[in-house]
Protein backbone atom coordinates (compact mmCIF):
# COMPACT_ATOMS: atom_id res chain seq x y z
CA UNK A 1 0.00 0.00 0.00
CA UNK A 2 1.30 3.41 -0.93
CA UNK A 3 1.38 6.16 1.62
CA UNK A 4 0.08 9.33 0.02
CA UNK A 5 0.52 12.98 0.85
CA UNK A 6 -2.21 12.78 3.45
CA UNK A 7 0.22 10.83 5.58
CA UNK A 8 2.25 13.93 6.31
CA UNK A 9 0.65 14.48 9.74
CA UNK A 10 1.32 10.85 10.61
CA UNK A 11 4.98 11.14 9.64
CA UNK A 12 5.32 14.30 11.70
CA UNK A 13 3.67 12.79 14.78
CA UNK A 14 5.64 9.55 14.63
CA UNK A 15 8.96 11.31 14.24
CA UNK A 16 8.07 13.72 17.02
CA UNK A 17 7.62 10.76 19.32
CA UNK A 18 10.87 9.28 18.06
CA UNK A 19 12.61 12.56 18.90
CA UNK A 20 11.02 12.50 22.35
CA UNK A 21 12.58 9.07 22.84
CA UNK A 22 16.00 10.05 21.61
CA UNK A 23 16.45 13.55 23.01
CA UNK A 24 16.55 12.52 26.68
CA UNK A 25 19.12 9.86 25.89
CA UNK A 26 21.24 12.29 23.91
CA UNK A 27 20.91 14.85 26.72
CA UNK A 28 22.05 12.24 29.23
CA UNK A 29 24.98 11.12 27.17
CA UNK A 30 26.11 14.68 26.44
CA UNK A 31 25.59 15.93 29.99
CA UNK A 32 27.61 13.07 31.42
CA UNK A 33 30.70 14.74 30.00
CA UNK A 34 29.84 18.32 30.95
CA UNK A 35 29.94 20.51 34.03
CA UNK A 36 26.77 21.87 35.58
CA UNK A 37 27.34 25.34 34.11
CA UNK A 38 27.75 23.96 30.62
CA UNK A 39 24.58 21.88 31.03
CA UNK A 40 22.47 24.87 32.02
CA UNK A 41 23.95 27.30 29.51
CA UNK A 42 23.63 25.13 26.44
CA UNK A 43 21.80 21.90 27.28
CA UNK A 44 21.92 20.48 23.76
CA UNK A 45 25.45 21.40 22.79
CA UNK A 46 27.78 18.41 22.36
CA UNK A 47 30.39 18.10 25.11
CA UNK A 48 33.62 19.94 24.50
CA UNK A 49 35.82 17.26 26.06
CA UNK A 50 35.44 13.60 26.86
CA UNK A 51 36.76 13.77 30.42
CA UNK A 52 35.54 11.01 32.69
CA UNK A 53 35.41 13.23 35.77
CA UNK A 54 31.64 12.86 36.26
CA UNK A 55 31.80 9.10 35.91
CA UNK A 56 34.53 8.93 38.53
CA UNK A 57 32.50 11.06 40.95
CA UNK A 58 29.40 8.95 40.35
CA UNK A 59 31.41 5.80 40.92
CA UNK A 60 32.87 7.02 44.17
CA UNK A 61 29.95 8.84 45.76
CA UNK A 62 27.40 6.08 45.22
CA UNK A 63 29.70 3.04 45.19
CA UNK A 64 28.42 2.24 41.72
CA UNK A 65 31.20 -0.25 40.96
CA UNK A 66 30.20 -2.49 43.82
CA UNK A 67 26.54 -2.01 42.94
CA UNK A 68 27.16 -3.16 39.37
CA UNK A 69 28.89 -6.28 40.70
CA UNK A 70 25.94 -6.95 43.01
CA UNK A 71 23.46 -6.50 40.20
CA UNK A 72 25.53 -8.81 38.02
CA UNK A 73 25.63 -11.51 40.69
CA UNK A 74 21.90 -11.35 41.38
CA UNK A 75 21.10 -11.38 37.65
CA UNK A 76 23.38 -14.29 36.76
CA UNK A 77 22.36 -16.56 39.62
CA UNK A 78 18.68 -15.75 39.14
CA UNK A 79 18.94 -16.58 35.45
CA UNK A 80 20.62 -19.90 36.23
CA UNK A 81 17.95 -20.83 38.74
CA UNK A 82 15.20 -19.78 36.36
CA UNK A 83 16.50 -22.14 33.70
CA UNK A 84 17.02 -24.91 36.23
CA UNK A 85 13.35 -24.69 37.21
CA UNK A 86 11.69 -23.73 33.95
CA UNK A 87 13.40 -26.08 31.48
CA UNK A 88 12.43 -29.36 33.22
CA UNK A 89 8.96 -28.01 33.91
CA UNK A 90 8.40 -27.02 30.30
CA UNK A 91 9.80 -30.39 29.18
CA UNK A 92 7.33 -32.20 31.40
CA UNK A 93 4.36 -30.06 30.38
CA UNK A 94 5.13 -30.20 26.65
CA UNK A 95 5.34 -34.01 26.56
CA UNK A 96 2.54 -34.82 28.91
CA UNK A 97 -1.05 -35.10 27.81
CA UNK A 98 -2.49 -35.78 31.27
CA UNK A 99 -5.03 -33.64 33.03
CA UNK A 100 -2.62 -32.67 35.85
CA UNK A 101 -0.14 -31.30 33.36
CA UNK A 102 -2.87 -29.26 31.69
CA UNK A 103 -3.87 -27.86 35.05
CA UNK A 104 -0.28 -26.92 35.95
CA UNK A 105 0.10 -25.18 32.61
CA UNK A 106 -3.08 -23.20 33.31
CA UNK A 107 -1.69 -22.14 36.68
CA UNK A 108 1.45 -20.79 35.03
CA UNK A 109 -0.54 -19.07 32.27
CA UNK A 110 -2.66 -17.29 34.85
CA UNK A 111 0.55 -16.08 36.47
CA UNK A 112 0.73 -13.42 33.77
CA UNK A 113 -2.13 -11.69 35.45
CA UNK A 114 -0.54 -11.48 38.90
CA UNK A 115 1.40 -8.22 39.05
CA UNK A 116 4.48 -8.83 41.15
CA UNK A 117 4.12 -5.55 43.00
CA UNK A 118 0.91 -6.64 44.69
CA UNK A 119 2.59 -8.91 47.21
CA UNK A 120 5.51 -6.68 48.14
CA UNK A 121 4.85 -6.59 51.85
CA UNK A 122 4.07 -10.30 52.34
CA UNK A 123 7.22 -11.12 50.38
CA UNK A 124 9.12 -8.84 52.72
CA UNK A 125 7.67 -10.85 55.63
CA UNK A 126 8.71 -14.08 53.93
CA UNK A 127 12.25 -12.75 53.62
CA UNK A 128 12.26 -11.84 57.30
CA UNK A 129 10.81 -15.22 58.31
CA UNK A 130 13.42 -17.17 56.36
CA UNK A 131 16.22 -15.10 57.87
CA UNK A 132 17.24 -13.87 54.42
CA UNK A 133 16.15 -10.27 54.90
CA UNK A 134 18.76 -7.78 53.66
CA UNK A 135 20.52 -10.41 51.56
CA UNK A 136 21.01 -10.80 47.87
CA UNK A 137 20.33 -14.52 48.31
CA UNK A 138 16.61 -13.96 48.83
CA UNK A 139 16.39 -12.00 45.58
CA UNK A 140 18.14 -14.86 43.78
CA UNK A 141 15.50 -17.24 45.13
CA UNK A 142 12.61 -14.87 44.58
CA UNK A 143 13.21 -13.39 41.11
CA UNK A 144 12.98 -16.75 39.27
CA UNK A 145 9.52 -17.26 40.76
CA UNK A 146 8.34 -14.03 39.17
CA UNK A 147 9.85 -15.09 35.85
CA UNK A 148 8.44 -18.62 35.78
CA UNK A 149 5.06 -17.99 34.10
CA UNK A 150 6.61 -16.25 31.09
CA UNK A 151 9.56 -18.63 30.86
CA UNK A 152 7.53 -21.83 31.17
CA UNK A 153 4.95 -20.73 28.61
CA UNK A 154 7.61 -19.72 26.06
CA UNK A 155 9.63 -22.90 26.56
CA UNK A 156 6.56 -25.15 26.32
CA UNK A 157 5.78 -23.60 22.95
CA UNK A 158 9.28 -24.34 21.72
CA UNK A 159 9.36 -27.88 23.12
CA UNK A 160 6.07 -28.78 21.46
CA UNK A 161 7.82 -28.34 18.11
CA UNK A 162 10.29 -31.17 18.81
CA UNK A 163 9.11 -34.18 16.78
CA UNK A 164 8.12 -37.20 18.86
CA UNK A 165 10.21 -39.47 16.64
CA UNK A 166 13.37 -37.87 18.00
CA UNK A 167 12.53 -39.00 21.47
CA UNK A 168 11.54 -42.49 20.33
CA UNK A 169 14.82 -42.92 18.55
CA UNK A 170 16.69 -41.91 21.66
CA UNK A 171 14.56 -44.22 23.78
CA UNK A 172 15.38 -47.16 21.51
CA UNK A 173 19.02 -46.44 22.24
CA UNK A 174 18.18 -46.79 25.92
CA UNK A 175 18.18 -43.10 26.87
CA UNK A 176 16.67 -42.15 30.23
CA UNK A 177 14.13 -39.33 30.59
CA UNK A 178 16.89 -37.05 31.77
CA UNK A 179 19.09 -37.98 28.82
CA UNK A 180 16.21 -37.22 26.46
CA UNK A 181 15.89 -33.78 28.00
CA UNK A 182 19.60 -33.14 27.95
CA UNK A 183 20.51 -34.51 24.54
CA UNK A 184 17.33 -34.14 22.49
CA UNK A 185 15.11 -31.37 23.81
CA UNK A 186 17.59 -28.87 25.27
CA UNK A 187 19.75 -28.60 22.11
CA UNK A 188 16.71 -28.27 19.86
CA UNK A 189 15.19 -25.57 22.06
CA UNK A 190 18.26 -23.36 22.27
CA UNK A 191 16.47 -20.44 20.54
CA UNK A 192 13.72 -20.66 23.15
CA UNK A 193 16.23 -20.80 25.96
CA UNK A 194 18.01 -17.77 24.50
CA UNK A 195 14.71 -15.90 24.36
CA UNK A 196 13.98 -16.68 27.99
CA UNK A 197 17.47 -15.64 29.04
CA UNK A 198 17.31 -12.34 27.19
CA UNK A 199 13.88 -11.34 28.45
CA UNK A 200 14.69 -12.24 32.02
CA UNK A 201 18.08 -10.56 31.86
CA UNK A 202 16.25 -7.31 31.18
CA UNK A 203 13.73 -7.84 33.96
CA UNK A 204 16.26 -8.93 36.56
CA UNK A 205 18.82 -6.25 35.82
CA UNK A 206 16.15 -3.55 35.87
CA UNK A 207 14.28 -4.73 38.97
CA UNK A 208 13.89 -1.90 41.46
CA UNK A 209 11.19 -2.01 44.12
CA UNK A 210 11.84 -5.48 45.56
CA UNK A 211 15.58 -4.88 45.56
CA UNK A 212 15.02 -1.64 47.43
CA UNK A 213 12.82 -3.20 50.09
CA UNK A 214 14.47 -6.59 50.50
CA UNK A 215 18.17 -6.02 49.89
CA UNK A 216 17.98 -2.53 51.32
CA UNK A 217 20.28 0.46 51.12
CA UNK A 218 23.48 -1.15 52.50
CA UNK A 219 26.16 -0.15 49.93
CA UNK A 220 27.85 -3.56 50.22
CA UNK A 221 24.71 -5.41 49.08
CA UNK A 222 22.53 -3.03 47.10
CA UNK A 223 21.99 -3.35 43.38
CA UNK A 224 22.73 -0.69 40.84
CA UNK A 225 19.06 0.26 40.41
CA UNK A 226 18.85 1.02 44.12
CA UNK A 227 22.15 2.89 44.14
CA UNK A 228 21.24 5.07 41.17
CA UNK A 229 18.46 7.19 42.74
CA UNK A 230 20.69 7.92 45.75
CA UNK A 231 22.85 10.04 43.44
CA UNK A 232 20.00 12.54 43.38
CA UNK A 233 20.26 13.25 47.09
CA UNK A 234 24.03 12.80 47.41
CA UNK A 235 25.00 15.15 44.65
CA UNK A 236 22.15 17.60 45.03
CA UNK A 237 21.70 19.04 41.60
CA UNK A 238 24.96 18.05 39.99
CA UNK A 239 23.37 16.93 36.76
CA UNK A 240 26.66 15.86 35.23
CA UNK A 241 27.19 13.22 37.90
CA UNK A 242 23.53 12.18 37.90
CA UNK A 243 23.48 11.63 34.16
CA UNK A 244 26.86 9.90 34.18
CA UNK A 245 25.57 7.43 36.78
CA UNK A 246 22.42 6.76 34.77
CA UNK A 247 24.44 6.18 31.61
CA UNK A 248 26.63 3.69 33.49
CA UNK A 249 23.66 1.57 34.56
CA UNK A 250 22.40 1.48 30.99
CA UNK A 251 25.67 0.24 29.54
CA UNK A 252 25.18 -3.51 30.16
CA UNK A 253 21.68 -3.45 28.70
CA UNK A 254 22.83 -1.50 25.67
CA UNK A 255 25.76 -3.84 25.14
CA UNK A 256 23.48 -6.87 25.11
CA UNK A 257 20.90 -5.08 22.97
CA UNK A 258 23.44 -3.97 20.39
CA UNK A 259 25.23 -7.30 20.13
CA UNK A 260 22.05 -9.37 20.07
CA UNK A 261 19.72 -6.79 18.54
CA UNK A 262 18.17 -9.07 15.92
CA UNK A 263 17.79 -11.90 18.37
CA UNK A 264 16.32 -9.66 21.06
CA UNK A 265 13.77 -8.00 18.78
CA UNK A 266 12.86 -11.40 17.42
CA UNK A 267 12.49 -12.73 20.93
CA UNK A 268 10.13 -9.97 21.98
CA UNK A 269 8.21 -10.00 18.74
CA UNK A 270 7.90 -13.75 18.14
CA UNK A 271 6.61 -14.16 21.64
CA UNK A 272 3.93 -11.64 20.89
CA UNK A 273 2.86 -13.11 17.56
CA UNK A 274 2.54 -16.57 19.04
CA UNK A 275 -0.43 -15.85 21.24
Amino acid sequence: MKLGKRWLPAHVLVWTYAVLLVVPLYYFLASAFKSNDAIFDRPFAPPTSLGLHNFRTAFESADLGLAIVNSGLVTVFSLALTLLLAVPAAFALARSTGRTAGLIEKVFSLGFLIPTFAALFPTFLLAAATGLFHTRAFMVLFLPATALPLSVVILVQFMRTVPAEMEEAARLDGASTFAVLRHVYAPMCLPGIATVLLLNFLTFWNEYLYSLVIIGPDPAQRTVQVALPTLKSITGTDYGVLTAGTVLTLVPVWLVYTVLQKRMQQALVSGAVKM
Binding site: I104, I114, W205, T243, T249, V253, Q265, V273
Partner: protein
Protein backbone atom coordinates in the same frame (compact mmCIF):
# COMPACT_ATOMS: atom_id res chain seq x y z
CA UNK B 1 7.44 -4.58 30.42
CA UNK B 2 8.67 -7.91 29.31
CA UNK B 3 5.66 -9.82 30.56
CA UNK B 4 3.87 -8.33 27.60
CA UNK B 5 5.65 -10.49 25.14
CA UNK B 6 3.79 -13.72 25.36
CA UNK B 7 0.32 -14.59 26.30
CA UNK B 8 -1.08 -17.84 27.46
CA UNK B 9 -1.49 -20.11 24.59
CA UNK B 10 -3.40 -22.67 26.59
CA UNK B 11 -4.61 -25.14 24.10
CA UNK B 12 -1.87 -25.18 21.50
CA UNK B 13 -2.01 -28.26 19.35
CA UNK B 14 -0.87 -31.25 21.29
CA UNK B 15 1.54 -33.40 19.40
CA UNK B 16 -0.38 -36.26 17.85
CA UNK B 17 0.57 -39.74 18.95
CA UNK B 18 2.71 -41.19 16.19
CA UNK B 19 0.57 -43.67 14.29
CA UNK B 20 3.54 -45.77 13.22
CA UNK B 21 4.51 -47.04 16.66
CA UNK B 22 2.97 -50.42 17.31
CA UNK B 23 1.78 -51.41 20.76
CA UNK B 24 4.98 -53.32 21.46
CA UNK B 25 7.06 -50.30 22.40
CA UNK B 26 4.61 -47.68 23.46
CA UNK B 27 6.13 -46.37 26.65
CA UNK B 28 7.67 -43.21 25.28
CA UNK B 29 6.31 -40.40 27.41
CA UNK B 30 6.35 -41.27 31.04
CA UNK B 31 8.29 -40.09 34.04
CA UNK B 32 7.54 -36.54 33.01
CA UNK B 33 5.08 -34.56 35.04
CA UNK B 34 7.16 -34.87 38.21
CA UNK B 35 9.71 -32.58 36.60
CA UNK B 36 7.20 -29.74 36.72
CA UNK B 37 6.85 -30.02 40.49
CA UNK B 38 9.90 -27.95 41.59
CA UNK B 39 8.86 -25.04 39.42
CA UNK B 40 5.29 -25.30 40.66
CA UNK B 41 6.36 -25.42 44.31
CA UNK B 42 8.67 -22.45 43.80
CA UNK B 43 5.86 -20.52 42.20
CA UNK B 44 3.38 -21.35 44.95
CA UNK B 45 5.80 -20.46 47.76
CA UNK B 46 7.10 -17.18 46.38
CA UNK B 47 4.14 -15.86 44.41
CA UNK B 48 0.83 -17.43 45.34
CA UNK B 49 1.56 -17.69 49.09
CA UNK B 50 2.33 -13.97 49.50
CA UNK B 51 -0.75 -13.15 47.40
CA UNK B 52 -2.95 -15.03 49.85
CA UNK B 53 -1.17 -13.45 52.80
CA UNK B 54 -2.37 -10.02 51.66
CA UNK B 55 -5.95 -11.02 52.50
CA UNK B 56 -4.97 -12.37 55.92
CA UNK B 57 -2.94 -9.30 56.91
CA UNK B 58 -5.77 -7.05 55.76
CA UNK B 59 -7.87 -8.46 58.60
CA UNK B 60 -5.23 -7.77 61.26
CA UNK B 61 -4.60 -4.78 63.46
CA UNK B 62 -0.83 -4.45 63.14
CA UNK B 63 0.59 -1.03 63.92
CA UNK B 64 4.24 -1.81 63.10
CA UNK B 65 6.63 -4.71 62.56
CA UNK B 66 7.51 -5.21 66.23
CA UNK B 67 4.11 -4.31 67.65
CA UNK B 68 1.61 -6.87 68.95
CA UNK B 69 -0.80 -8.15 66.35
CA UNK B 70 -4.50 -8.50 66.96
CA UNK B 71 -7.48 -9.51 64.86
CA UNK B 72 -9.30 -6.53 63.43
CA UNK B 73 -12.00 -8.07 61.30
CA UNK B 74 -13.58 -5.34 59.22
CA UNK B 75 -11.90 -2.66 61.35
CA UNK B 76 -9.28 -1.84 58.76
CA UNK B 77 -11.84 -1.56 56.02
CA UNK B 78 -13.75 0.98 58.10
CA UNK B 79 -10.57 2.95 58.88
CA UNK B 80 -9.58 3.00 55.22
CA UNK B 81 -13.01 4.06 54.00
CA UNK B 82 -13.12 6.88 56.55
CA UNK B 83 -9.71 8.19 55.52
CA UNK B 84 -9.78 11.15 53.10
CA UNK B 85 -6.25 10.26 51.95
CA UNK B 86 -7.57 6.96 50.62
CA UNK B 87 -10.24 8.75 48.60
CA UNK B 88 -7.64 11.17 47.23
CA UNK B 89 -5.64 8.16 46.12
CA UNK B 90 -8.72 6.59 44.52
CA UNK B 91 -9.38 9.79 42.59
CA UNK B 92 -5.76 10.10 41.47
CA UNK B 93 -5.63 6.48 40.35
CA UNK B 94 -8.92 6.85 38.49
CA UNK B 95 -7.60 9.90 36.63
CA UNK B 96 -4.31 8.18 35.92
CA UNK B 97 -5.97 5.07 34.48
CA UNK B 98 -8.63 6.96 32.57
CA UNK B 99 -6.04 9.13 30.84
CA UNK B 100 -2.94 6.96 30.53
CA UNK B 101 -4.37 3.64 29.33
CA UNK B 102 -6.64 4.84 26.49
CA UNK B 103 -4.09 7.37 25.23
CA UNK B 104 -1.36 4.75 25.34
CA UNK B 105 -3.35 2.04 23.57
CA UNK B 106 -4.82 4.28 20.86
CA UNK B 107 -1.48 5.96 20.10
CA UNK B 108 0.38 2.65 20.18
CA UNK B 109 -2.14 1.03 17.85
CA UNK B 110 -1.86 3.83 15.30
CA UNK B 111 1.91 3.89 15.62
CA UNK B 112 2.01 0.12 15.24
CA UNK B 113 -0.14 0.38 12.08
CA UNK B 114 2.21 3.07 10.76
CA UNK B 115 5.30 0.93 11.32
CA UNK B 116 3.59 -2.14 9.85
CA UNK B 117 3.11 -0.25 6.55
CA UNK B 118 6.92 -0.05 6.33
CA UNK B 119 7.20 3.67 5.50
CA UNK B 120 10.64 5.15 4.84
CA UNK B 121 12.72 4.93 8.00
CA UNK B 122 10.58 2.31 9.69
CA UNK B 123 13.67 0.37 10.71
CA UNK B 124 15.02 3.35 12.63
CA UNK B 125 11.63 3.92 14.25
CA UNK B 126 11.36 0.28 15.22
CA UNK B 127 14.81 0.37 16.78
CA UNK B 128 13.93 3.48 18.77
CA UNK B 129 10.59 2.13 19.95
CA UNK B 130 12.38 -0.50 21.98
CA UNK B 131 14.18 2.13 24.07
CA UNK B 132 11.60 2.55 26.86
CA UNK B 133 11.33 -1.21 27.12
CA UNK B 134 15.04 -1.50 27.79
CA UNK B 135 15.69 1.08 30.47
CA UNK B 136 14.89 0.54 34.11
CA UNK B 137 12.33 2.42 36.15
CA UNK B 138 14.95 4.36 38.15
CA UNK B 139 16.66 5.39 34.91
CA UNK B 140 13.33 6.52 33.43
CA UNK B 141 12.65 8.43 36.62
CA UNK B 142 16.07 10.09 36.34
CA UNK B 143 15.20 11.12 32.77
CA UNK B 144 11.98 12.73 33.95
CA UNK B 145 13.66 14.27 36.96
CA UNK B 146 16.29 15.86 34.75
CA UNK B 147 13.62 17.04 32.33
CA UNK B 148 11.09 18.40 34.80
CA UNK B 149 13.01 19.78 37.77
CA UNK B 150 13.00 23.59 38.14
CA UNK B 151 16.29 24.04 36.27
CA UNK B 152 15.74 21.07 34.00
CA UNK B 153 15.34 20.45 30.32
CA UNK B 154 11.71 21.54 29.84
CA UNK B 155 12.08 24.85 31.62
CA UNK B 156 15.34 25.45 29.77
CA UNK B 157 13.63 24.80 26.45
CA UNK B 158 10.70 27.06 27.38
CA UNK B 159 13.06 29.87 28.25
CA UNK B 160 15.01 29.22 25.08
CA UNK B 161 11.96 29.88 22.91
CA UNK B 162 10.86 32.90 24.91
CA UNK B 163 8.10 31.26 26.93
CA UNK B 164 9.84 31.76 30.25
CA UNK B 165 6.58 32.73 31.91
CA UNK B 166 5.28 29.18 31.50
CA UNK B 167 8.08 27.58 33.51
CA UNK B 168 7.03 25.77 36.62
CA UNK B 169 8.37 23.40 39.26
CA UNK B 170 6.50 20.64 37.46
CA UNK B 171 7.06 17.82 39.94
CA UNK B 172 6.54 19.97 43.01
CA UNK B 173 3.39 21.72 41.95
CA UNK B 174 0.06 20.21 43.08
CA UNK B 175 -1.58 20.92 39.75
CA UNK B 176 1.03 19.22 37.58
CA UNK B 177 2.58 16.44 39.70
CA UNK B 178 0.02 13.82 38.69
CA UNK B 179 0.17 14.93 35.07
CA UNK B 180 3.94 14.36 35.09
CA UNK B 181 3.42 10.79 36.29
CA UNK B 182 0.84 10.18 33.58
CA UNK B 183 3.24 11.62 31.02
CA UNK B 184 5.87 9.15 32.18
CA UNK B 185 3.41 6.24 31.80
CA UNK B 186 2.44 7.34 28.31
CA UNK B 187 5.97 8.16 27.17
CA UNK B 188 7.36 4.82 28.19
CA UNK B 189 4.26 2.76 27.42
CA UNK B 190 3.63 3.71 23.80
CA UNK B 191 6.91 2.53 22.32
CA UNK B 192 6.96 -1.09 23.28
CA UNK B 193 3.20 -1.53 22.94
CA UNK B 194 3.47 -0.20 19.40
CA UNK B 195 6.13 -2.79 18.59
CA UNK B 196 3.78 -5.52 19.77
CA UNK B 197 0.92 -4.18 17.67
CA UNK B 198 3.17 -3.80 14.64
CA UNK B 199 4.28 -7.41 14.92
CA UNK B 200 0.72 -8.57 15.24
CA UNK B 201 -0.44 -6.41 12.32
CA UNK B 202 2.31 -7.87 10.15
CA UNK B 203 0.67 -11.27 10.53
CA UNK B 204 -2.61 -9.93 9.14
CA UNK B 205 -2.78 -10.99 5.46
CA UNK B 206 -1.86 -8.07 3.19
CA UNK B 207 -4.72 -8.81 0.78
CA UNK B 208 -7.17 -7.70 3.43
CA UNK B 209 -5.89 -4.13 3.40
CA UNK B 210 -5.43 -4.10 -0.37
CA UNK B 211 -9.01 -5.21 -0.94
CA UNK B 212 -10.23 -2.39 1.26
CA UNK B 213 -8.04 0.09 -0.66
CA UNK B 214 -9.51 -1.08 -3.96
CA UNK B 215 -12.92 -0.36 -2.53
CA UNK B 216 -11.72 3.18 -1.97
CA UNK B 217 -11.13 3.05 1.76
CA UNK B 218 -8.36 5.31 3.02
CA UNK B 219 -5.76 4.26 5.56
CA UNK B 220 -7.76 5.76 8.37
CA UNK B 221 -10.76 3.57 7.59
CA UNK B 222 -8.65 0.52 6.81
CA UNK B 223 -6.88 0.88 10.12
CA UNK B 224 -10.03 1.02 12.21
CA UNK B 225 -12.58 -1.02 10.26
CA UNK B 226 -10.44 -3.71 8.61
CA UNK B 227 -7.36 -4.34 10.71
CA UNK B 228 -8.67 -3.44 14.13
CA UNK B 229 -11.44 -6.07 14.18
CA UNK B 230 -8.94 -8.75 13.15
CA UNK B 231 -6.58 -8.14 16.06
CA UNK B 232 -9.26 -6.93 18.46
CA UNK B 233 -8.73 -9.70 20.99
CA UNK B 234 -4.99 -9.11 20.94
CA UNK B 235 -5.50 -5.40 21.57
CA UNK B 236 -7.65 -6.49 24.50
CA UNK B 237 -4.89 -8.64 25.99
CA UNK B 238 -2.32 -5.86 25.64
CA UNK B 239 -4.77 -3.36 27.16
CA UNK B 240 -5.28 -5.69 30.12
CA UNK B 241 -1.56 -5.92 30.75
CA UNK B 242 -0.98 -2.19 30.38
CA UNK B 243 -3.90 -1.54 32.70
CA UNK B 244 -2.36 -3.79 35.34
CA UNK B 245 1.07 -2.23 34.93
CA UNK B 246 -0.29 1.27 35.25
CA UNK B 247 -2.42 0.35 38.24
CA UNK B 248 0.28 -1.50 40.17
CA UNK B 249 3.47 -0.07 38.73
CA UNK B 250 2.81 3.56 39.56
CA UNK B 251 4.16 3.03 43.09
CA UNK B 252 7.73 3.07 41.79
CA UNK B 253 7.30 6.21 39.74
CA UNK B 254 5.62 8.06 42.59
CA UNK B 255 8.27 6.92 45.05
CA UNK B 256 11.10 8.07 42.81
CA UNK B 257 9.63 11.33 41.54
CA UNK B 258 7.13 12.93 43.90
CA UNK B 259 6.77 10.83 47.05
CA UNK B 260 3.01 11.23 46.68
CA UNK B 261 3.12 14.96 47.15
CA UNK B 262 2.75 17.83 47.35
CA UNK B 263 0.14 16.95 49.94
CA UNK B 264 -1.68 13.98 48.48
CA UNK B 265 -1.87 15.38 44.97
CA UNK B 266 0.07 12.52 43.41
CA UNK B 267 -0.63 9.71 45.87
CA UNK B 268 -1.92 6.72 43.94
CA UNK B 269 -3.42 3.56 45.41
CA UNK B 270 -0.35 1.43 44.84
CA UNK B 271 1.89 4.09 46.35
CA UNK B 272 -0.44 4.21 49.35
CA UNK B 273 0.12 0.47 49.84
CA UNK B 274 3.87 1.07 49.84
CA UNK B 275 3.76 4.18 51.96
CA UNK B 276 1.54 2.73 54.70
CA UNK B 277 3.64 -0.44 54.87
CA UNK B 278 7.17 0.90 54.77
CA UNK B 279 6.94 4.53 55.84
CA UNK B 280 3.88 4.83 58.09
CA UNK B 281 4.13 1.24 59.40
CA UNK B 282 0.38 0.72 59.45
CA UNK B 283 0.44 -2.78 58.05
CA UNK B 284 -3.23 -3.73 58.29
CA UNK B 285 -4.21 -0.48 56.55
CA UNK B 286 -1.61 -1.04 53.85
CA UNK B 287 -2.77 -4.54 52.99
CA UNK B 288 -6.43 -3.53 53.11
CA UNK B 289 -5.64 -1.05 50.37
CA UNK B 290 -3.73 -3.91 48.73
CA UNK B 291 -6.89 -6.03 48.69
CA UNK B 292 -8.80 -3.10 47.27
CA UNK B 293 -6.14 -2.68 44.59
CA UNK B 294 -6.32 -6.36 43.78
CA UNK B 295 -10.09 -6.27 43.41
CA UNK B 296 -9.86 -3.16 41.24
CA UNK B 297 -7.43 -5.02 39.04
CA UNK B 298 -9.76 -8.00 38.76
CA UNK B 299 -12.84 -5.92 37.97
CA UNK B 300 -10.84 -3.89 35.45
CA UNK B 301 -9.60 -7.04 33.71
CA UNK B 302 -13.09 -8.46 33.38
CA UNK B 303 -14.42 -5.12 32.10
CA UNK B 304 -11.65 -4.81 29.50
CA UNK B 305 -12.22 -8.39 28.39
CA UNK B 306 -15.89 -7.66 27.88
CA UNK B 307 -15.19 -4.53 25.87
CA UNK B 308 -12.73 -6.26 23.56
CA UNK B 309 -14.63 -9.50 23.16
CA UNK B 310 -14.41 -10.74 19.60
CA UNK B 311 -17.56 -9.60 17.88
CA UNK B 312 -17.54 -11.66 14.72
Amino acid sequence: MTTLTTTPDGTAARRPVPPSAPAARSTPRQGGTVLAVPALVWYLVFMVGPMIAIFVIAALHWPGMLQPVSFAGWGNVRTVLDDPVFWDAVANTAVQLAVAVPVMIVCAYMLGYYVAQRPPGHRVIRYLLFIPGLISTPAKAMVFYAALSPDGLVNGALQGVGLGSLTDAWLASPSTALACLIALDVWSGIGFTAVLFAARLNSVPGELGEAAQLDGAGHWRTMWTVHFPVIRDYVGVVTMLQFLWTLFGSAQHVLLLTQGGPGTSSTTLSFLVYQKAFIAADLGYSQTVGVFLFLTGLVGLLAIRRVFRQTY
